[in-house]
Amino acid sequence: MSDALGLYNYWIAIFLMMVGFYNVIASGNLVKKLIGLSIFQTSVFLLYITMGKVKDGTAPILGDGYDTFSNPLPHVLILTAIVVGIATTAVGLALVVRIQEHFGTIEEDELIAQEDSP
């Protein structure tokens, strides 16, 4: 039981990771795939930040009366990761716009059909 309480955060992070993964591989629409990718990314952030929390700690900002801080290192890594994630999502969305303009569709099976037919 204490296992479940202590590991609940990781299990939810894995659940979200698999939901995002399922969206990426099972969805036919390109925008939905990108949304699934973004869910996957945020679940990894959740995993890291959960590992960084210290019991009875506080945010890693020096202040009077606080002496136990949560680990600032995962926070720094995830700050970088969030911004890089939005940058790559923006490039992905720009590609989707160009695909729509060129092929007229963003559904995966229609794209494959258009490419296969000469």
Partner: protein
């Protein structure tokens, strides 16, 4: 008590993720993604990651939703509904999930202070940061000074993404014949948006001021270059949404915008080079002034400014590119 709040929010998050998977209306899915990001920001606050929560709320619930909606306005609104769930993909996802859950049984429990991640480097930074750098926000001191090289790389990544989006979306097709037609509908749209215009006149200066506050207050509380850049961009995007893209382009010419994108990155790398010329290593800020902590403060100020300028202008020019594209 924190456990109950934490577990409830995570359960909501799982439900929202399932809802995103099941919906076929892509506009609704984009809004749900914004809700998901806001819930994630709440969870980060509960887990003491205030800087990360700030960034996630600004980036995930703000910029990301705007970019998704801009893409959807240029493509399609509805996803083709799947006849039945994809069983093979579901099996693969369940197997991978099962393997990962099996792996979590060796992990340290939530909040354990003896976990391996809290030995060695973390306590070392917490111990030396007050004396070596003297900035209260330890995330800023690690981000800007101890791991400043990584942040330079990250700024370069944002810069490259902006270049990619500009290359893909910059040249709008059939711009000349469109501009003559667009005059009239714009006037009607403006009258409908009167309440929004008055409201935004009140709020946009406050948003920009808040962005500046977050930029320079990042040393003492949650904040810093990334969050400030995104908030600044949000103010400009609000102006552009309410008053039209042409007016926003008149106020901030695209040439100036592109120049500022490069300027921010140059400022960051330039600070590193300056410390190289002043008898230190690359990005060793203590060489920038007589006293070490003074030099660190100057260095952190300059590079956060560079990051803020780059992020603000990158987000703005990406939005201009998306919304300047005419629907074919």
């Amino acid at each position: 008590m924190i456990h109950v709040v934490d577990m409830t929010l995570l359960a909501f998050l799982a439900l929202v993720a399932i809802a995103i998977t099941r919906m076929t209306n892509l506009f609704a899915t984009s809004v749900l993604t914004g809700v998901y990001s806001l819930l994630m920001a709440c969870i980060f606050t509960v887990l003491d990651a205030v800087d990360v929560a700030f960034t996630e709320a600004a980036v995930g619930a703000g910029i990301s939703t705007v970019l998704f909606l801009a893409t959807l306005s240029l493509t399609t609104q509805r996803e083709k509904p799947q006849r039945s769930p994809n069983w093979k993909a579901l099996c693969v996802a369940l197997l991978t999930g099962g393997a990962l859950v099996y792996g979590t049984f060796d992990m340290p429990h939530f909040g354990d202070p003896q976990a391996p991640v809290h030995q060695h480097v973390g306590p070392h930074y917490i111990g030396v940061s007050p004396t070596q750098i003297g900035v209260p926000n330890m995330v800023t001191s690690v981000l800007a000074s101890y791991r400043g090289y990584d942040t330079l790389g990250e700024t370069a990544v944002i810069f490259t993404a902006c270049m990619a989006v500009l290359l893909l979306l910059q040249h709008e097709k059939r711009r000349d014949e469109q501009s003559a037609v667009e005059e009239k509908p714009d006037k009607e749209a403006m009258e409908h948006a009167m309440i929004l215009r008055v409201q935004s006149k009140f709020f946009i200066p406050l948003i920009l001021l808040f962005g500046l506050y977050v930029q320079f207050h990042g040393d003492f509380g949650p904040g810093g270059g990334f969050q400030a850049g995104v908030i600044f961009a949000a103010g400009i995007i609000l102006y552009s949404l309410v008053n039209g893209l042409d007016k926003a382009r008149q106020i901030i010419p695209p040439n100036v915008l592109h120049g500022l994108v490069a300027f921010g990155l140059l400022l960051y790398a330039g600070t590193g080079l300056a410390s190289l010329f002043m008898d230190g290593n690359f990005l060793q800020y203590r060489a920038l002034a007589e006293e070490a902590t003074h030099g660190e403060h100057i260095g952190i100020l300059l590079i956060e400014l560079g990051v803020g300028v780059t992020v603000a202008t990158v987000m703005t020019s990406m939005f201009f590119s998306f919304s300047g594209r005419r629907r074919s």
